[in-house]
């Protein structure tokens, strides 16, 4: 019992079920095939971002620059491929974008891991730097995508139709990327020393260092990983939209952070799961996709994001305090 109440995944899953039933009752369209496919479709990009974001928060840091990295990486890749009139495999686009993301992530990693600068201020600075470069040096504006990315965007796994409304929705192939990244992150976090190191650093940095973890290296890897992931996400996004809009992802970092926090990731570091994170993203996506269905104007969506961050962090802060109190009480009891 105690174990169940301390975890947050059950609560989020319950919230998702209740919310789905509520929307189903009001609109009758929630459990239709095409709505579920639409939800999965709008989940892909925030879910990809959230994996890296969760790992950073688990390590005790916070990153607000991943959307800026994704935007700059995908935009430069897009212009590069357009200029070279490349029309081969889309893998090259992913590779270039991931490489650019790696470079930008490495800058964050160097500043945070090696110079030990505060993560929030650093990523706030680099995000301004990257967006400024994109709009200034590359004078970015919405542009076409090269043929390889356009073709990639039309790859569909299956199509769901809603016989009542006659609507169809396509499941994009980019969901395979999400699944692959999830599997990779799962093995990394569970079965590798590096993954355990991320949790160790977030739990107590000094203790992790004394236990023999290479804290600098772990942080460097982490921010590089976020960069690579952001680069990949950028290409996935523009291939699904089939045009490259440099500002489409900016500002999304707040909802992603909210979703990660909602998913039970402890903002003080050391605790967080992939299942919780993806459930958090799912809940946020359902909320934002369905606000109109439940009769709330979209103007109020930011109030939701804010409330979710505050309530989510408040709950984890409360949990930490009550476990600590229980610890001291049991210590007193044994003495």
């Amino acid at each position: 019992m105690g174990r169940m109440t301390k975890r947050s995944e059950p609560y989020i899953l319950a919230a998702i079920v209740v919310l789905s039933l509520l929307i189903q009752a009001r609109s009758g369209q929630f459990f239709s095939g095409n709505n579920l496919v639409d939800l999965a479709r709008s989940l892909i990009v925030p879910a990809l971002f959230s994996i890296g974001c969760m790992m950073v928060i688990v390590s005790g840091g916070i990153d607000v620059s991943f959307t800026a990295i994704a935007s700059l990486a995908m935009y430069v890749t897009d212009r590069l491929l357009l200029a070279s009139q490349y029309s081969g495999n889309v893998i090259l686009a992913y590779a270039i974008s991931a490489g650019l993301g790696l470079l930008m992530g490495a800058l964050n990693g160097f500043l945070i891991g090696f110079l030990r600068l505060p993560t929030f201020v650093v990523t706030l600075g680099t995000s301004s730097l990257f967006t400024g470069l994109m709009f200034g040096a590359f004078s970015a504006s919405a542009s076409d995508v090269p043929p390889s990315i356009a073709r990639h965007g039309k790859e569909i796994l299956f199509t769901a139709t809603n016989p009542k409304l006659g609507l169809t929705s396509n499941m994009p192939s980019q969901i395979l990327i999400l699944i692959a990244v999830l599997l990779f992150a799962f093995f990394l976090l569970r079965y590798t020393m590096l993954g355990r190191g991320i949790y160790a650093v977030g739990g107590d940095e000094t203790a992790a260092e004394r236990a023999g973890f290479n804290v600098r290296g772990i942080k460097m890897f982490l921010y590089c990983f976020v960069g690579v992931l952001a680069g990949i996400t950028g290409i996935a996004r523009i291939s699904m939209m089939s045009y490259a809009d440099p500002s489409t992802m900016l500002g999304m970092e707040m909802t992603v952070i909210a979703a990660v926090v909602l998913g039970g990731t402890r903002v003080t570091g050391g605790v967080g799961t992939l299942v919780g994170t993806i459930s958090g993203v799912a809940l946020m996506t359902i909320l934002s996709n369905s606000l109109i269905l439940i009769g709330i104007p979209t103007y109020w969506s930011r109030v939701f994001t804010g409330a979710v961050i505050i309530v989510g962090t408040g709950v984890t802060a409360h949990q930490i305090r009550s476990t600590r109190r229980r610890h001291t009480q049991s210590q007193k009891a044994t003495v």
Binding site: I62, L111, L115, R116, L117, P118, F120, V121, V122, L124, G125, T126, S127, S128, L129, F130, T131, G132, L133, M134, F135, G136, A137, S139, M254, I257, A258, V261, V267, T268, P297, Y299, W300, S301, R302, V303, F304, T305, G306, A307, V308, I309, I310, T313, G314, A317, H318, I320, R321
Partner: protein, 347 residues
Amino acid sequence: MTADKPADSVRRARGAHDPNLLRLLVMLVFVFLLMTVLRPHQFATMTNFNSMMRQFPEYGIMAIGISLTMITGGIDLGVVGTANLSAIIAAKFLIGSVPQGSTPAQVVPYLIIAVLLSLSVGLACGTIAGTLISHFNIPAILATLGTQQLFTGIAIGITSGRPQSRLPLLYSRIGNTEFFRFVPLSFVIFSAVAVGVGLMLSRTRFGTSMYMIGTNPRAARYAGLNNTTIILRTYMISGLLSSVAGLIMMARANSAKADYGAPYTLQCVLIAVLGGIDPNGGFGTIAGVTMAILILQFLSSGLNMFNNISNFYRDVIWGGVLILVLVFNRLLSWRNERRAVRKSMVK
């Protein structure tokens, strides 16, 4: 590490002999001279000074608010949201209640109520953020990221995202008053705020306890300080200052808008860090922050005078400067640590 270290660090924080202040002064003079040489007929003119004095008070006051929270080891990322929300509520009140065609004398009481209303909204916003941080122990970054979304969200919600214009003319006329036809009212307010907060930090018990909490919260609690109340009050002051900035923005734009001044958050954090406020808490002075504000305004106005520089390069410069200052401060503190170790070994 001798016994007089804490007292030493408090004195240094108050700026008795702060090498950082000297560096900032040199930087300020350098930027000023650089811009004067590059754009002699535009930069060092009375018109430009006047326009700069109109521009910086709104973000300068918010930067002072953020700096206070950073001194206690936190941060307030909700300042821009607070400023907009309090301005919008004041604007809604004015638009909704002042009868058409009233004389200036009739409008004055409404203006007083609007100002008080906006200040209390700011205070309430600060109380919310402060309570979340001090009572519920939510990390300041996330709590205020949340309040920023919340306040901006409420501001968008109650206005449906539309700007609130058609304010009574008297408000902007008073707000844009210029003494001696040169010194704007907003500049006078900024100076009063800077001097007042500076004195509070350096001359009062409350100011000293803020530095102590920022240096070591646990030690501060054991020394008998009530951390909860002090942190709560700090965020309340930050909220109050943000609403003052909101009133100034409302007067300058003659309207209030939910997404006004979005880049100010980054700019304010940059000012605080550039001004020598340690993001980990415990260090920094208002004198440093004020100089950082002036440096940024000189740079910003100077860049405006180059037509071929896109506005977006400002983002690059702000971000780049922020990181360079962080790196520089870190290298400097490492060097000082090494020197201290060497000195103690010689002894």
